[in-house]
């Protein structure tokens, strides 16, 4: 394939111009800050602190993972009919789905969580009458409920947007071959749409992980809740650094997982010219 690589333009000469110097300086500052932080953490590490709060923070970390996973899965299930509504030619269904997405994307997750948690609290008698109070009484269910609805709106928009990118001609080709709607959807449209949707889905998962910290203010001991509790007892600022590191570990793991999935889903697009 040497002929092909000969066609490439020669690499541009890289001079030490101002932006490049500035970039290196900034990078240096960041590396220095990271090293200082690492030195601080090593110096500040105490087995006493780790023993008192380490286990609780890890259990909070697990609570965060559970909360996010559950919400994302339920949200994904809800997003399917909402996405279908967004793509529906029926104006009433379309408007309903649009309104749903508009509300959940247009208001802060914090406000939604408060609305559900304390709103449910003030309608206790009514909820009791219909047997829903046992559900809304529990902070955990309130959080999963709100987060699921919130993420379903984002996921529906991602999915609907991705399906729109599949050319209409593909569906027509399927119909010409006499394939059923189900086969067209699962074998032609979705595989192509999911390639487009993969990265936005990844963003949504990351946003959900960070947004889940909101659960801590409605009495759930997730990673943020345990962090605040540890900080309130120790006044030690490293608690927040450890929490940040745990969140980063989670996000980085997902990022790598997403790289693997993208390679797998796009393996038919890789060109053999390297």
């Amino acid at each position: 394939m040497s002929a092909k690589s000969d066609l490439r333009p020669p690499p541009r000469a890289r001079r030490w111009d101002a932006p490049r110097v500035a970039g290196h300086v900034l990078m240096g500052v960041w590396i220095a800050a990271g090293v200082l932080l690492a030195i601080y953490l090593v110096g500040a590490f105490s087995t006493d602190f780790a023993q008192r709060y380490g286990f609780r923070m890890l259990s909070g970390f697990w609570t965060t993972i559970e909360l996010v996973t559950l919400s994302l899965l339920i949200g994904a299930a809800i997003s399917l009919p909402v996405a279908a509504g967004r793509l529906s030619p029926n104006p009433v269904i379309g408007a309903l789905a649009y309104g749903y997405v508009y509300f959940f994307r247009g208001t802060p997750l914090l406000a939604q969580t408060f609305l559900v948690y304390y709103g449910a609290g003030s309608f206790r008698a009514e909820l009791d009458a219909v047997g829903l109070w046992t559900f809304f009484r529990d902070a955990w269910f309130c959080a999963v409920f709100t987060f699921s609805l919130n993420t379903s709106a984002y996921q529906a928009e991602i999915l609907a947007g991705a399906i729109r990118t599949v050319p209409r001609s593909q569906i027509e080709a399927g119909q010409a071959l006499g394939l059923s709607r189900y086969v067209i959807a699962t074998r032609i449209v979705l595989p192509q749409a999911l390639v487009v949707a993969l990265r936005p889905y990844g963003n949504e998962v990351v946003l959900m992980i960070k947004g889940s910290a909101i659960a801590s203010i409605i009495t759930i001991y997730d990673l943020m809740g345990e962090t605040r509790r540890a900080f309130s007892r120790s006044f030690d600022f490293q608690t927040y650094i450890w929490a940040a590191i745990l969140y980063l570990v989670l996000v980085e793991t997902l990022r790598r997982l997403w790289d693997v999935m993208e390679r797998r889903l796009t393996r038919h697009l890789v060109r053999d010219d390297t």
Binding site: Y40, G43, A44, Y118, A120, G121, S122, R124, R137, A139, I217, T219, G225, R228, R229, F231, S232, R233, F235, F237
Partner: protein
């Protein structure tokens, strides 16, 4: 304290000291503004309460101009250390844990904790056994949450950022009880909002947890400011101003023994 933190605090103190000499007449007081009747904001956004009146009386006594800064409870000590204000007058109990971070003046009041429960509660006493498995609410980062953790380890302790939120959850029935200062809870159950609930029992003060009462927190090493506050507290106790403010809010002496 660790060396790096000590350095940071020393630097903050130095900055404060130089800043202070330039504006001698102005003192910034940090308070929470969500803890009636001690400190709260009324409908027009005005800060009110026992702490605020005491702070104003002390400033008058010290002949300085006081400016109030409201700050979330969870971050109030870090904010003092970060020089956002010069003193905390917000019903902060003087405890060992906090003493490692800040200095305190002498107490300016001391009241015991209590537990409030819904009117129809079947709880009759506050013991580790009776509260076992019960949902008990408290404001986070308070001596009361520490008290609950230490004395009622089997209770299901829920922590809230402010007192407002646990009150909502107690009246909606999410909580079986809440723990806070007896004055705060009595004031609430006597009000319209707190009609749902009653005081179960006051709790005995534990000096190890509750400390010596509520004091004014200042940055470490500002001994001069601390002494000025101490003198002012003694002076308003002496000249009757304290008693006047006390009577305005309570029908008993909150200063304690």
């Amino acid at each position: 304290m660790r060396p790096t933190l000590r350095l940071a605090v020393a630097a903050a103190a130095l900055m404060a000291a130089t800043g202070f000499s330039q504006a001698q007449e102005k003192l910034r007081i940090g308070t929470e503004g969500a803890y009636p009747p001690f400190n709260y904001t009324d409908a027009s956004g005005q800060l009110m309460g026992f702490d605020i009146d005491i702070a104003n009386a002390l400033c008058e006594e010290m002949q300085v101009e006081c400016e109030f800064v409201t700050q979330d409870w969870d971050g109030i000590i870090p904010a003092l250390q970060a020089n956002r204000f010069d003193a905390i007058i917000a019903s902060m109990s003087i405890t060992e844990e906090r003493r490692q971070q800040v200095d305190f003046t002498n107490k300016y009041y001391n009241t015991p904790p209590a537990i409030a429960v819904p009117e129809d509660s079947d709880l009759t006493e506050a013991t580790p056994e009776s509260l076992s498995g019960k949902a008990l609410g408290a404001q986070s980062s308070t001596t009361h949450s520490n008290y609950a953790e230490a004395k009622f380890p089997d209770a299901d302790l829920r922590l809230y950022p402010t007192a407002e939120e646990y009150k909502l959850d107690l009246s909606s029935g999410r909580l079986d009880g809440v723990i806070d200062d007896v004055v705060v809870l009595s004031e609430w159950v006597d009000s319209e909002d707190g009609a749902c609930c009653k005081i179960l029992t006051p709790l005995p003060l534990d000096p190890e947890i509750n400390g010596e009462g509520a004091g004014i927190a200042i940055r470490k090493g500002e001994d001069e400011l601390r002494e000025r506050f101490n003198d002012a507290i003694a002076a308003i106790r002496e000249n009757g101003t304290y008693q006047e403010i006390n009577e305005k809010y309570f029908d008993f002496d909150v200063y304690g023994d």
